[in-house]
């Protein structure tokens, strides 16, 4: 098949202040292909795509669509050029149905009474009779036709505004053509993440997009949902659409794409055919050096029950069960992984243990190794009370700059979060925290201008090193980490895995909430799978299968909503 270029970028450069997000990027996208855009966080993938979609405007360079140079100043321009983007964070109206969201913002095709009138006159002039009697009749007919035009316009408008049926059938056509599985009458707030994503994709297709850009579409999906999405993407490709998929997961790149474009620090490194490369070569291009992608997992030693959670139930703000009868044991010298679709109760579980979440029932017991494994009840205790009981509990929360650290404060003041009460009299002590900050910067190779720099100015990986460093410095016996590598580059991720492993070898009971199943399987000794607030299974990390965990992640919901939405889980 002959390849036609759908989209071409030439020498695109974009800077934000001192930061160069994209530098002289050249990229070609053909019709009927899937191109993966691969790169670490902060390598400029999303910025580049935002320029194609009119959200940013490039500082330099040209964009060609279908061979013509274009200027894309707003998302509207991009839409006119048949470019559609599915963002990482969905932009849907919660209280509307899927169909409403899809047709939202669509304009009626222009209908000008003046122009139509001219057409009618022109047509009538062709059959203008000669006889005076017929002339009058002809004039009357013409007048009637002309005066009807405003009413025709009104009719069209009414049909467009209030009779959406014709459009819904068009949506259904698109939906069945590519094999989407969606109920168009369902409200967005009733939908799973995967369904919302489907709505976004149909919306873009409905607007007639020929070039689709998907920003990390798999980050929030289960393995089964990913397979489904990929099948749809392939069908769209075969239909002649051009697709760019942004991702940093290598196995997905290999599975879905025809070609791979690699970005590193804003520069375009290479575009290669997927069939001619492998994961190792891609990693090297992405990171810029050879890297070992193995996580060393030691056998647990000296295993003792450290934290026992029994029948824990937590209600969320609406009084629904965020956690339902959760029981498990975290043991010293072991990493317990927690898997599940985002929002299955992971956050509530960790916050309940840390004393930040009101609980509705159950038990949280801690066995203190410094007091001869004496039992301590942590139920309904505040963080201060837990600390005063001598429980060495460290917690790396999911929201780093909103909970774990204060973005506007410098490294020293952030160290102080854990120790400021130790100062003398009413005064704070900044000397010890300063030493700790310097220590962490040195040991964990934090890249920062100094310990007096606000942490928000640090890159994601360095922010996380500061947070994990501080939590580890407290010499914990239980270490909880929620998505500690989210948004981190490969090197930083492996630093964090290494730190967690070190803590495990020191005899700490580590609880790791993760989203990348491959990592969970490689890192954890046991994996607890949460599904809609319930424990749907606990599996051994060694020898666990991704597909099995994926099934457990959705299993309970299938049982519970039996019959109603059977197709959704198929």
């Amino acid at each position: 098949m002959e390849k036609t270029v759908a989209l071409e970028l030439k020498n695109i450069t974009k800077t934000f202040g001192e930061v160069v997000a994209n530098k002289n990027v050249n990229l070609e996208l053909y019709r009927g292909e899937i191109l993966s855009l691969l790169g670490e966080n902060g390598s400029g993938k999303t910025t580049l795509m935002n320029m194609i979609c009119g959200i940013y405007f490039p500082d330099e360079g040209e964009i060609f669509v279908g061979g013509e140079e274009v200027v894309i100043r707003s998302p509207k321009d991009a839409f006119a050029l048949k470019i559609g983007m599915i963002h990482q964070h969905f932009k849907l109206v919660d209280i509307f149905t899927a169909a409403d969201n899809i047709i939202l913002g669509e304009h009626m095709p222009p209908y000008s009474v003046k122009e139509e009138g001219e057409k009618v006159i022109a047509a009538s002039n062709g059959v203008k009779p000669v006889k005076p009697g017929e002339k009058i009749l002809w004039g009357l007919k013409l007048g009637l036709k002309l005066s009807a035009l405003p009413f025709i316009k009104l009719g069209k408008k009414l049909k467009f505004d209030y009779l959406a049926k014709s459009r819904i059938s068009r949506i259904a056509d698109i939906s069945s053509k590519y094999g989407f599985d969606i109920d168009l009458k369902k409200k967005i707030y009733d939908m799973s993440v995967s369904e919302k994503q489907t709505v976004e994709i149909i919306k873009v297709l409905y607007r007639g997009a020929e070039i689709l850009i998907l920003d990390e579409p798999t980050a929030v999906l289960t393995p089964q949902e990913i397979d489904k999405l990929f099948a749809i993407l392939r069908r769209m490709r075969d239909d002649g659409k051009s697709i760019i998929i942004i991702t940093h997961k290598l196995n997905e790149v290999m599975a879905i794409s025809d070609r791979v474009a690699v970005l590193r620090k804003g520069e375009h490194i290479a575009t290669v055919n997927t069939s001619e490369t492998d994961e190792k070569a891609l990693t090297e291009m992405m990171v810029g050096k050879k890297i070992e992608l193995n996580i060393e997992r030691a056998e647990p030693e000296n295993v003792k029950d450290r934290l026992v959670v029994k029948n824990l139930t937590v209600l969320n703000r609406d009084g629904m069960k965020a956690l339902d009868d959760v029981s498990f044991t975290a043991r010293s010298g072991e990493i317990l992984g927690i898997a599940g679709i985002a929002g299955s109760g992971q956050r509530e579980l960790l916050e309940a243990i840390a004393g930040l979440q009101k609980t509705a029932g159950g038990d949280i017991l801690y066995f203190d190794p410094n007091k001869g494994e004496a039992e301590v009840d942590l139920m309904q205790k505040s963080p201060v009370e837990i600390r005063d009981l001598g429980v060495r509990l460290s917690f790396v929360p999911e929201d780093r700059l909103g909970m774990g650290l204060v973005g506007n404060m410098d490294l020293v003041d952030n160290m102080m979060l854990r120790s400021y009460t130790k100062g003398r009299f009413v005064f704070v002590d900044r000397k010890n925290p300063k030493e700790l900050a310097e220590h962490i910067v040195h040991d964990l190779e934090v890249v920062t201008p100094g310990v007096r720099t606000p942490v928000r100015k640090l890159s994601g990986g360095n922010v996380q090193k500061v947070l994990v460093g501080r939590e580890i410095a407290a010499a914990p016996t239980v270490l909880m980490a929620a998505y500690p590598v989210r948004g981190l580059d490969i090197n930083s991720s492996y630093t964090i895995y290494h730190l967690l492993n070190q803590q495990k070898e020191k005899g700490v009971a580590v609880i790791y909430v993760g989203e990348d199943l491959d990592v969970l399987i490689d890192l954890c000794d046991r994996i607890l799978v949460l599904c809609a607030g319930k424990v749907s299974g606990i599996v051994e990390g060694r020898g666990a299968k991704k597909e099995d965990i994926g099934l457990l992640m959705t299993k309970l919901s299938a049982k519970e909503t039996d019959g109603e939405t059977k197709e959704a889980t198929l």
Binding site: T15, F16, G17, E18, V19, F57, D59, V65, G66, G67, E68, E69, V70, V71, I72, R73, D77, A80, L81, K82, E210, A354, L356, S382, P383, V384, R387, F395, P397, D399, G402, M403, G404, L405, V406, G407, N408, M409, D413, M416, L417, R418, Y420, T421, G423, V426, F427, V428
Partner: protein, 374 residues
């Protein structure tokens, strides 16, 4: 093929028109540039004020405005003293609102808190004046003022901490209550039916330690040091900063957020109480009326924000504001621009407008379209 045609049509619509300019967010800005932009903003504000002045006086007096500005605030020792006195009050209220703002508690009730404290001080003078020795009277006034300010500030804080009410509306409403209370009290006390309270013969500690007019300056300077240390080196200061930055972080490390909110507002209210006390007792002619604070409770909010909550920066911002106020008052008097204070409001308003607007240029850079032929 139709696809391509449509794409071309789209291209024609938007062909080769780069936007004339676009905005680029700055990540960093050189210190000298920052100050240059601010100085330019102040200069432009003064220029516009001069033009307004010239326009109001029929095209003359453009230059005279500036000479009046300086002579009005710094011209004589007495004028300098008046300016410093005004500085002390504005500074005191600015300091008072700062801890609350640092905690992101939008207390816009400093006006009412100060006014109710002044009222409390006058209550002492009316009922104890002449009956107890003057030093005892002064101490009672101080105690009454401070307690009144604290009460007025802590009510919205309690409601915020326990029931999550909106503190902005709450503190604003408390201002009106304070104003009405003062009007009510003055009506009772003013026996001549004029509705205004004359100068009271007791309760003034002006000329204390032999200092005329500027004893307030000494107290407020002392307070500045205290607030600076409190915010920077006290555990309390650290706690309220964490609460302000993120309530989630505060809970995460075990700070009692309710306690911090209430404690900080009490501190804030105590300082407003002090301002009210200084307004009455620190003046050679102690009295109270509904206009005593005169909007300084609101000006203080702007001052506090412009200083980025730093007590040291606040000294200078406050100085600049009172300089403009005194100078513009003098200019308005000599040029007969009316004594309603409207002209002063114009000048000070222009200053705030420009200095706040210039923040935009501190945060963004404007990039113009490059010349053709790239």
């Amino acid at each position: 093929m139709t696809v391509k045609n449509n794409a071309v049509a789209g291209a024609v619509k938007t062909s080769h028109k780069e936007p004339l300019f676009h905005l680029v967010k700055r990540t960093d800005i050189a210190t000298w540039k920052k100050w240059l932009i601010r100085v330019v903003a102040v200069v432009i504000a003064l220029l516009i004020a001069g033009i307004v002045c010239a326009a109001l006086t029929g095209g003359k007096n453009f230059v005279k405005f500036y000479s009046e500005l300086f002579s009005g605030s710094l011209g004589t020792v007495w004028r300098l003293q008046v300016m410093l006195q005004a500085w002390a009050i504005l500074m005191c209220i600015s300091l008072a609102v700062t801890p609350a703002f640092k905690m992101r508690f939008w207390n816009i009730g400093a006006e009412g808190q100060t006014l109710i404290s002044a009222l409390a001080a006058v209550v002492c003078i009316i009922y104890f004046g002449g009956k107890i020795p003057e030093p005892a009277l002064i101490m009672t006034m101080l105690a009454f003022s401070v307690v009144a300010g604290a009460i007025w500030a802590v009510i919205p804080a309690i409601f915020k901490a326990f029931w999550g009410t909106n503190e902005t509306l709450f503190t604003l409403m408390m201002n009106y209550v304070a104003t009405q209370l003062v009007l009510y009290a003055v009506n009772i006390w003013a026996k001549d039916g004029s509705g205004t309270l004359g100068v009271l013969s007791h309760g003034s500690f002006d000329k204390l330690f032999g200092m005329e007019y500027i004893q307030n300056v000494v107290f407020v300077t002392l307070l500045t040091v205290i607030v600076f240390v409190y915010l920077k080196f006290f555990k309390h200061g650290y706690e309220l900063e964490v609460v302000g930055e993120s309530v989630n972080t505060a809970k995460y490390i075990g700070i009692n957020v309710k306690k911090v909110i209430i404690r900080t507002m009490v501190f804030s209210g105590v300082m407003c109480g002090l301002a009210g006390f200084l307004l009455v007792g620190g003046s050679p002619s102690p009295t109270v009326n509904a206009n005593l604070v005169g909007g300084r409770g609101f000006t203080a909010i702007l001052v506090s924000w412009l200083s980025k909550f730093s007590p040291i920066a606040m000294i200078f911002v406050t100085l600049l504001v009172v300089f403009l106020e005194r100078g513009a008052t003098q200019a308005a008097n000599t040029m007969r621009l009316g004594d309603s204070g409207a002209f002063v409001d114009i000048v000070v308003g222009l200053f705030f407008l420009l200095i706040i607007a210039c923040e935009f240029f501190l945060n963004y850079k404007i990039k113009f379209r490059k010349k053709e032929g790239k």
